[in-house]
């Protein structure tokens, strides 16, 4: 009787872990889609980094956690943990380097009411020299 009860408890825990894993994996896929939509629709580079962060944290975290819940305690789970740990460290580092490089390259963050960056300039590594000169004049006239 006791053995039977223990067996049913173990089976219940296994089923719960499986269901929780499915929920995590599906939620992670949803957040990846949200990040992709934000990447397409946000108005400039700095706001798009916010959308990319959704994919890097919630998307990757939930999908890898769901896979780990399905696998149980094996070497596979350790590898999933390594991937998750590496993404958790590398994603903010890459985001920081990217925003610093973009600021050094002359991009300025988008403000509410401004046009989308695709309407300001079409291509190239940031605003043109004339655009930067006019922006500098405006800033100096304000100050």
């Amino acid at each position: 009787m006791d053995a039977l009860a223990e067996g049913s408890i173990a089976a219940t825990i296994a089923t719960a872990a499986e269901v929780l894993g499915w929920i995590c994996v599906i939620a992670g896929a949803f957040f990846c889609l949200v990040g992709g939509i934000g990447l397409l629709r946000m108005p400039d580079m700095f706001t798009r980094m916010h959308a990319a962060g959704v994919t890097d944290t919630m998307g990757a975290g939930l999908i890898l956690a769901g896979l780990a819940l399905h696998e149980g305690f094996t070497l596979i789970t350790v590898k999933l943990g390594f991937i998750l740990l590496f993404i958790v460290f590398s994603s903010p580092t890459a985001t920081h380097a990217l925003s610093q490089a973009a600021l050094a390259g002359g991009l300025t963050p988008w403000r509410k009411g401004e046009p989308r960056d695709s309407e300001v300039y079409s291509t190239g590594p940031g605003p043109s020299k004339e655009e930067k000169a006019t922006a500098r004049e405006e800033a100096s006239s304000k100050g």
Partner: protein, 99 residues
């Protein structure tokens, strides 16, 4: 079945990231899109490994995560210093502004 649906969703998200890399407009948008694309590639490799019952694919996913991070930093460094190499007149502008 659910793994297949998740793989499909991830592929759609990867297509969106590629669309942003195509549209630009700045080089930083493209680097950001490629970084996101790489993260989603890692996830697709992991999920496809579970879908086909071969979780050994995770070794490839670890390798891809490492290469993705190093590639992003290398591309950023290249574009940052490429800009500085062009930008000797930027420094002159700054000095004029300071004076």
């Amino acid at each position: 079945m659910i793994y297949a649906a998740v793989t499909l969703a991830l592929l759609v998200a990867m297509a969106m990231a590629l669309g942003r890399a195509w549209l630009g407009p700045t080089v930083y948008d493209r680097i950001l899109a490629l970084n996101t694309f790489g993260t989603e590639t890692v996830l697709v490799i992991a999920v496809v490994g579970f879908l086909f019952g071969r979780p050994e694919f995770l070794d490839i996913a670890i390798l891809y995560a490492l290469i993705n991070f190093i590639g992003t930093i290398a591309a950023l460094k290249f574009f940052k210093f490429g800009d500085l190499g062009h930008g000797l007149d930027y420094e002159e502008d700054d000095e004029e502004g300071a004076a």
